[in-house]
């Protein structure tokens, strides 16, 4: 995968920008050929991820940086052509300068226990085809998520073959979907 994003959005950690960021992701994904359902899933995953950064990374501070980068894997069609868009997957990277957390602590909770809160990590894992948390060099966290264009993953289905993410970060936690609900993310 190429590392340079084709599109990058920088926001501050103010929840007021969540709605616009969801729309940004939704419409880019739609423009490169993802289904309406997949676009909604990606927008939801980004929403949950940014909420987690704001709440847990920045302790709800409103003025801290968050970067959202999109990379269309497989490329995009030139605007003057009528060819089918070649994008095979969308990689979404969310980076921040928040405190670095123990990657083994990033986990979904037991859904058998009915209680409010703590659903964000589970939702991200459930709707995206590949999810990886890692420490940025220096400070901050990086979350890399991939959604396949031909993903068999539908809401709550929990089963898909995943291509995995490239790269060999020194400190990362990666999750590939399994047929069962994942309760933990293993480093």
């Amino acid at each position: 995968m190429e590392s340079k994003p084709q599109i990058q959005l920088a926001i501050t950690s103010n929840p007021l920008f969540l709605s616009g960021t969801r729309e940004f992701v939704y419409h880019i994904a739609s423009r490169v050929g993802f289904s309406e359902e997949a676009c909604g899933q990606m927008a939801l995953a980004v929403d949950e991820a940014i909420c987690n950064v704001i709440r847990h990374g920045y302790d709800r501070a409103l003025d801290k940086p968050i970067w959202i980068s999109l990379q269309c894997i497989g490329g995009v069609a030139a605007p003057e052509t009528q060819q089918t868009n070649p994008t095979t997957a969308l990689q979404i990277v969310i980076e921040d300068e928040a405190r670095q957390v123990d990657l083994s602590m990033i986990k979904s909770r037991n859904l058998d226990e009915i209680r409010p809160g703590g659903l964000g990590v589970h939702i991200i894992q459930e709707v995206m085809d590949d999810v990886k948390y890692e420490h940025r060099s220096g400070k901050g966290m990086r979350l890399t998520m991939v959604k396949l264009r031909n993903s068999a993953k539908r809401a709550g289905s929990g089963d898909v073959d995943s291509p995995g993410l490239e790269g060999d970060p020194t400190s990362s936690s990666s999750v590939s979907p399994s047929p069962t609900v994942k309760q933990e993310m293993h480093p």
């Binding site: 969540l18 939801l44 949950e48 859904l111 409010p116 659903l119 459930e126």
Partner: protein, 114 residues
């Protein structure tokens, strides 16, 4: 998608049923409004509380958490809480959270108040 703002209509029916109808996206910025309204209504101890989500095109996990809190509070005080008119994206997040069987969900407002 809307701009994320939320408005809430409340209908106190003669039969004792209270219908709460939020309109707009329920996310971390708008969830406190819904939470406060539901708590206020639950303090009235209605026999049935209906949350009509017909005008809610989007809900994130903070909105789901609000509904979970409302359901748990309702059960404690024997208020029947029913959710109706889920749009696809809201139905999806309840399904992902494996909460679709935790709530009483029906298709229409008529079914919910009946």
């Amino acid at each position: 998608m809307s701009d994320g703002r939320l408005s809430i209509q409340v209908d106190r029916r003669a039969d004792g049923v209270i219908v709460v109808a939020p309109s707009g996206e329920v996310d971390v910025t708008t969830q406190p409004l819904l939470q406060a309204e539901l708590r206020k209504i639950q303090a009235e101890k209605p026999k049935k509380l209906v949350v009509n989500l017909a005008e809610v095109p989007y809900m994130d996990s903070s909105g789901v958490a609000t509904l979970v809190q409302a359901m748990q509070a309702s059960r404690k005080q024997n208020t029947i809480l029913v959710i109706c008119n889920l749009q696809d994206r809201v139905r999806t997040i309840l399904h992902i959270a494996k909460l679709d069987s935790f709530f009483s969900v029906v298709g229409t407002l008529e079914q919910a108040v009946g």
